[in-house]
């Protein structure tokens, strides 16, 4: 387990930011979600060793979060949300500089800076001054400085903000590549659920300082009963009647999405048989699971 915390609590004065959070994060990419003010940043601060929890304990990569705080930062890469750079430097100098500050010897930091800049797609631009960089390039630079010292855990805070669709795609590809490389655990904090869905296998949802949900996405989103979503072409009415006569419930959303509720222990291929009988084309067929948005809303409490 790379990150393990138990009963973590923290208050800023009277405000309770975290209240008894316990979780274990293993391999793969984990999404960190929560409404604003839920305690995500406090949790990240504690995990990065900036804050000592009021109560509770934990380990990040076997370093204790109270005693070995500086050591944690050796093996963790952090990609901040807000813009950050140092004026007057070029990308190589910048990346190598922060690599050195992480503890890399100067020459190693230089070599590694070049490698990492190529990896994130800034190879051609690496000698240019940072002041000339576009928003997308600055975003990749942030990723580069987080990777230069080869961290074992990567904390990414809104990594796709300010990027155009191409940029978003590329950064997501990079993150997917990094997280599928099993030895780097990625913790992704984002408000864009589509990103989390496409990259993370597990999620942690915080709300009002407490853990609202945690686990593998597939498990959290699974629905016990058999619900299938379909899109058809053809006589929907006949199809519907056919299925209903077999004990299924069929609904249609305003979006022309057909939802079929099947009784327990039924064979999903019955749907295809019904389609065959009524001459209908099935163009989309998916076993329903709760959408991440609904999971979030359900767990955080919608008003």
């Amino acid at each position: 387990m790379s990150i393990e915390v138990k009963d973590l609590s923290f208050r800023y004065g009277k405000i309770v930011a975290l209240d008894g959070v316990t979780m274990k994060l293993g391999e793969g990419a984990v999404g960190l979600l929560g409404p604003n003010g839920a305690g995500k940043s406090t949790l990240l601060r504690i995990l990065l060793g900036f804050l000592v929890p009021g109560r509770g304990e934990g380990k990040v990569l076997d370093y204790d979060i109270r005693r070995d705080r500086a050591m944690i930062r050796r093996s963790v890469g952090y990609m901040p949300e807000s813009d950050c750079f140092v004026a007057g430097m070029d990308a190589v100098t910048f990346t190598a500089y922060f690599g050195e500050l992480s503890g890399m010897p100067r020459q190693e930091a230089m070599k590694r800076a070049h490698e990492v800049l190529f990896y994130v797609g800034l190879g051609e631009a690496r000698y240019r001054l940072l002041d000339t960089y576009s928003a997308g390039m600055k975003q990749r630079l942030k990723l580069a400085q987080a990777l230069v010292h080869d961290p074992k855990i990567l904390f990414l805070d809104e990594p796709t903000s300010n990027l155009d669709p191409n940029g978003r795609n590329e950064v997501l590809e990079l993150i997917r590549d990094i997280s599928s490389n099993k030895s780097i655990q990625v913790l992704l904090s984002s408000h864009i659920l589509a990103d989390i869905e496409s990259i993370c296998g597990s999620v942690v949802i915080l709300n009002k300082g407490r853990l609202a949900a945690e686990g593998r996405m597939a498990d959290l989103r699974a629905i016990d009963y058999s619900l299938f979503e379909l899109r058809l072409k053809g006589d929907g009415e006949a199809f519907r009647k056919d299925l209903e006569s077999r004990g299924c419930r069929v609904d249609e959303t305003e979006d022309k999405l057909i939802k079929v509720y099947m009784p327990e222990k039924s064979d999903r291929m019955d749907i295809f048989r019904a389609a065959s009988r009524t001459g209908v084309q099935i163009r989309y067929f998916v076993k329903s699971q709760t959408s991440l948005e609904d999971l979030f809303a359900g767990v955080v409490g919608v008003d």
């Binding site: 929560g34 409404p35 576009s134 155009d164 795609n169 408000h191 589509a194 065959s276």
Partner: protein, 308 residues
């Protein structure tokens, strides 16, 4: 459908930097998504529509009337910019009421409208706090409040969802849809394509100062001939399934995914494929887990048209 916003041969440049190049298009009531890579001309277009800039060539009209230098039109347009454009030292209330003054409403009217707008975005509790102390999400919401306070018929939103948490996004999406249901016209620009898809299926894609595509997403997808439709079928026996389709001449490409259960087909004749699929599956006794079209979405349309 009559056009609400119409642009005719619209061109704008800044010195020799191109903004828009001979753009002609019509936007109808309802929600229209505006997308494009950075520097494509989206913000130029929005600024021209909201009367912040004068076109070099061409015109942009709202319900037939030119926008530029026409203050009477501004009352019918609300604009929510991407960046924070605040006076940090005023409260949310002062900000919204201050801007309302420009529209010439009476004092009590202003108060009422501001209160309503702030209530809609759920900032009533914090309206008397300085904007300097607002969180990112709150700033976004007060910008939105300012855009709707004067009850405009047309609302232009630039990245309205950025900075909001998932619930905030959901609420705002509902709100925008409510505006659409009231008959208003909303133009939303965003880089997060899944979020545009959640709002509307009608888009305008801008690239290098020109309109690359306009209309319904599935319709546009259909038109992209260079990329046949992708259909993905996950089942208990993908190879058996593939075997039965191999002879089908309308299929251009077949591949198998690493998971060992998914078979992906590319074809220009989706109808033929789907017409046969049910039969094939039942005949072969194959257990189907999932059927989907992986590139029938806005992200793929964007990639195919704009590329890398």
């Amino acid at each position: 459908m009559t056009a609400v916003i119409a642009a005719t041969h619209l061109s704008k440049w800044y010195g020799n930097v191109l903004g828009l190049n001979d753009v002609s298009l019509e936007i109808e009531a309802g929600i229209t998504g505006l997308l494009g890579p950075n520097g494509a001309g989206k913000s130029t277009f929005m600024k021209l529509i909201t009367g912040q800039m004068k076109p070099n060539i061409g015109t942009v009209t709202v319900r037939g009337r030119k926008v530029w230098n026409n203050p009477t039109i501004f009352a019918g347009i609300g604009f929510c910019p991407e960046h924070d454009v605040f006076y940090e030292e005023v409260t949310g209330w002062e900000f919204v009421t201050g801007l309302l003054r420009f529209y010439g409403y009476s004092g009590s009217d202003i108060k009422q409208r501001a209160a309503r707008a702030l209530d809609i975005v759920e900032l009533t509790k914090d309206k008397d706090r300085l904007i300097r102390g607002y969180s990112r999400g709150m700033r976004q919401r007060v910008k939105f409040a300012q855009a709707i306070a004067h009850d405009p018929e047309i609302i232009v939103l630039d990245e309205p969802l950025s900075g909001l948490d998932p619930l905030g996004k959901r609420k705002l999406i509902k709100l925008i849809k409510a505006f659409r249901d009231e008959g208003r016209t909303v133009l939303v620009s965003s880089h997060v394509l899944p979020e545009i898809e959640a709002l509307t299926s009608r888009i305008v894609l801008v690239h290098q100062g020109k309109i690359l595509a306009q209309g319904d997403i599935p319709y546009i997808r259909e038109l992209i001939e260079a990329h046949p439709h992708m259909i993905s079928v996950r089942s208990s026996d993908p190879r058996a399934l593939a075997a039965r389709f191999v002879g089908d001449r309308s299929i251009q490409k077949m591949s198998f995914a690493p998971d060992g259960r998914t078979f992906v087909v590319e074809t220009h004749k989706r109808d033929d494929f789907f017409a046969r699929l049910t039969g094939v599956v039942l005949e072969g006794g194959i257990e189907v887990e999932e059927i989907s079209s992986p590139d029938d979405n806005l992200q793929s349309v964007f990639e195919y048209l704009v590329g890398k």
